[in-house]
């Protein structure tokens, strides 16, 4: 294969990997926020995002109601936040007692949400697009579409907003304090519950945003979004599972690696590839690939 041909192949792969990687990163940020504050791995993350995406579909396509896309999203955000609060309240009694039991309980919540989606929306496969005009232009070998730009803008806005909240606001300081030393926070009179609730709500919003942006590239069904979350979990593991920048960068790395793997090796073994990535990362970089580059802080 010639070098020019190789570059012509690789550049678009890198670009689309970057775009989908941003979304894996956003999904992973939600997982990491919940884990950092409450030490729980939220296995209902994908199911909640799936429910949210289906709510947007149901309320904007006419299958339940035909609202505008914006109001359907607002409604979905409200429902996702309400479900996040309910699921946190459910595990609140055991969250300090056992990480393991709380993690199992989130699986239970995930199953309930999965069943609810299947009951209301059936096993249908539907399309859910973003309301952006379909435009695209080429830059050398890379084809950039309006969808790509929308993803980049939303991701930057979300990550920037999150960064400002965590670095600049009182809530953010509390979040950082709780994730460093919950016991000391409690001694100082900080309400751990409100910090937990903040991270669970942020997780729900991040998950829903990631789901809404990833769905246009594939399709929406009761299983696609939960299995999309495997990418988010992998991104979180690559980033060390307790580092927010790590999760974002991990997402992009996973996105690019997946694109290269599916182009050059075998697209039908995607999940197996991710399993391999997780096992190799755990073995050789147990604290994430970026441990040395960024250090441990938030």
């Amino acid at each position: 294969m010639s070098v020019a041909g190789f570059i012509r192949d690789v550049l678009p792969l890198l670009w689309s990997g970057l775009i989908s990687g941003c979304l894996y990163g956003v999904g992973a940020l939600g997982l990491v926020m919940v884990f950092k504050s409450s030490r729980v791995v939220n296995f209902s993350h994908g199911n909640l995002a799936c429910l949210g995406a289906f709510v947007v579909y149901g309320f904007s396509s006419g299958s339940l109601l035909s609202l505008s896309w914006g109001s359907a999203v607002a409604l979905a955000l409200g429902i996702a936040c309400a479900v996040a609060v309910v699921s946190y309240v459910l595990i609140a009694p055991i969250v300090f007692k056992s990480d393991l039991a709380s993690t199992i309980a989130t699986l239970g919540v995930g199953l309930i949400l999965q069943g609810a989606v299947q009951l209301v929306f059936g096993a249908d496969i539907v399309n859910l697009d973003l309301p952006v005009p379909r435009l695209s232009f080429s830059l050398d070998a890379i084809r950039i579409s309006s969808y790509d730009l929308a993803v980049l803008v939303v991701t930057l806005a979300i990550v920037g907003g999150l960064f400002v909240i965590i670095e600049r606001t009182k809530l953010g300081v509390a979040f950082r304090a709780v994730s460093t030393n919950p016991f000391a926070c409690e001694v100082c009179g900080l309400n751990l519950r409100s910090v937990h609730l903040f991270s669970w709500l942020a997780g729900a919003v991040l998950g829903l945003v990631a789901a809404l942006l990833i769905v246009p590239t594939t399709f929406l069904s009761s299983t696609t979004v939960p299995s999309f979350m495997l990418q988010a979990f992998t991104a979180a593991v690559v980033g060390g599972f307790s580092s927010l920048p790590g999760a974002a960068v991990g997402g992009i790395l996973v996105g690019i690696a997946m694109n290269l793997f599916s182009f050059y090796v075998a697209p039908e073994f995607m999940n197996t590839f991710l399993l391999g990535v997780i096992l190799l990362t755990l073995n050789f970089f147990p604290n994430g690939l970026l441990e040395r580059a960024i250090g441990g802080r938030v």
Binding site: Q114, S227, N283
Partner: protein, 326 residues
């Protein structure tokens, strides 16, 4: 054979204790006796369901064992179950050999796969293992479909060979599954009292004390996962034998989660009745609620949340009056 062992040891202990009647042991014997006689009364479909119950009970035991001895959650044990089931099917198709050969092979394969899988996260906390098992459960269907040459793809494979020729198939499935289940339960009870079992429990409860005695945490984690995966693979071999077929349909992402549901519902206990409750819950509920298909995940989810909350109920009381944790 195993049952007569149980009876003899039980009798021996009764006489040692000066004739004091051990109610728990007697009721266990009664349970085994009822299960032994069930084929006289039960019809074909019930017998088939019960055989599957026994196989699933073993799979539930493997998950419970991991929770009890390792303090770890797995939602990917369906992988090891599938490994055992496909080992039986592929050995029969390629080599024409029966479960006599493939059952031990399945156990070895499961142990090997469990070791390889648990090794990378040996020094990390259990949540990393849980995340990795999720990937394992999601990778399983595509592996089964992708390696079509060996696994038969979407259609799967049939398992036709008998263990003992001449005995009706339904009875063979039933008694083999029941026999292995009873043996495993006895072995687990013995393991609890053995030096190895105590060492693993100590490594979990008092890691530093265990380390002082030469039992490292990572060694304990790897060995319990290896044992658990071997047991899951044995369960899978019996599932394949009992249902006479293996296909990707029976190993979706959710089958791994359901095994955990069975384990939680049986309170992660390692006794025969607990295993039967867990196995029956995940076998019979989908069978008898087939019309209410979409309600099954909801029912399982509610069971998972409720049992987990109630099992940690000590904390509930502490939580209520103050409104804050700790």
């Amino acid at each position: 054979m195993a049952v007569s062992d149980l009876a003899q040891t039980s009798k021996a202990e009764l006489s040692v204790r000066g004739g004091r009647v051990d109610a728990a042991r007697l009721s266990m014997l009664a349970l085994v006796a009822i299960l032994l006689l069930a084929p006289l009364l039960a019809g074909g479909f019930l017998l088939y369901s019960l055989s599957l119950c026994f196989a699933n009970a073993l799979a539930v035991l493997s998950v419970s064992m991991l929770v009890r001895y390792g303090g770890e959650v797995s939602i990917g044990h369906s992988f090891f179950v599938a490994l055992g089931a496909y080992a039986v099917a592929i050995v029969e198709h390629r080599l024409g050999l029966s479960i006599v050969v493939s059952l031990p092979l399945a156990i070895l394969l499961g142990a090997g796969a469990g070791f390889v899988f648990a090794f990378p996260s040996r020094r990390l906390s259990g949540i990393y293992l849980a995340v990795a098992t999720m990937a394992l459960a999601l990778a399983l269907p595509e592996i089964l479909i992708g390696f079509e040459k060996f696994t038969g793809g979407f259609e799967g494979l049939y398992i036709a060979q008998d263990l003992i020729p001449g005995i009706p198939k339904a009875l063979q499935r039933y008694y083999v599954a029941l026999g292995v289940l009873v043996i495993v339960c006895l072995a687990l009870a013995h393991f609890r009292k053995s030096a190895q079992g105590l060492a693993l429990l100590m490594a979990q409860a008092q890691p530093r004390a265990a380390e002082a005695m030469g039992i490292t945490r990572s060694w304990a984690r790897i060995s319990i996962f290896t044992l658990s995966a071997a047991l899951a693979s044995l369960a899978g071999a019996l599932t394949g034998f009992a249902s006479s077929t293996v296909s990707p349909n029976s190993f979706t992402f959710f089958s791994g989660v359901f095994l955990l549901v069975g384990s939680v519902v049986s309170l992660n206990r390692l006794s025969l009745p607990a295993a039967l409750v867990g196995g029956a819950f995940i076998t019979l509920v989908p069978t008898y609620l087939a019309q209410a298909g979409d309600w099954v995940p909801i029912l399982y989810g509610v069971a998972l949340v409720v049992v987990t909350l109630v099992a940690n109920a000590g904390d509930l009381r502490r939580f209520l009056p103050r409104g804050r944790g700790r």
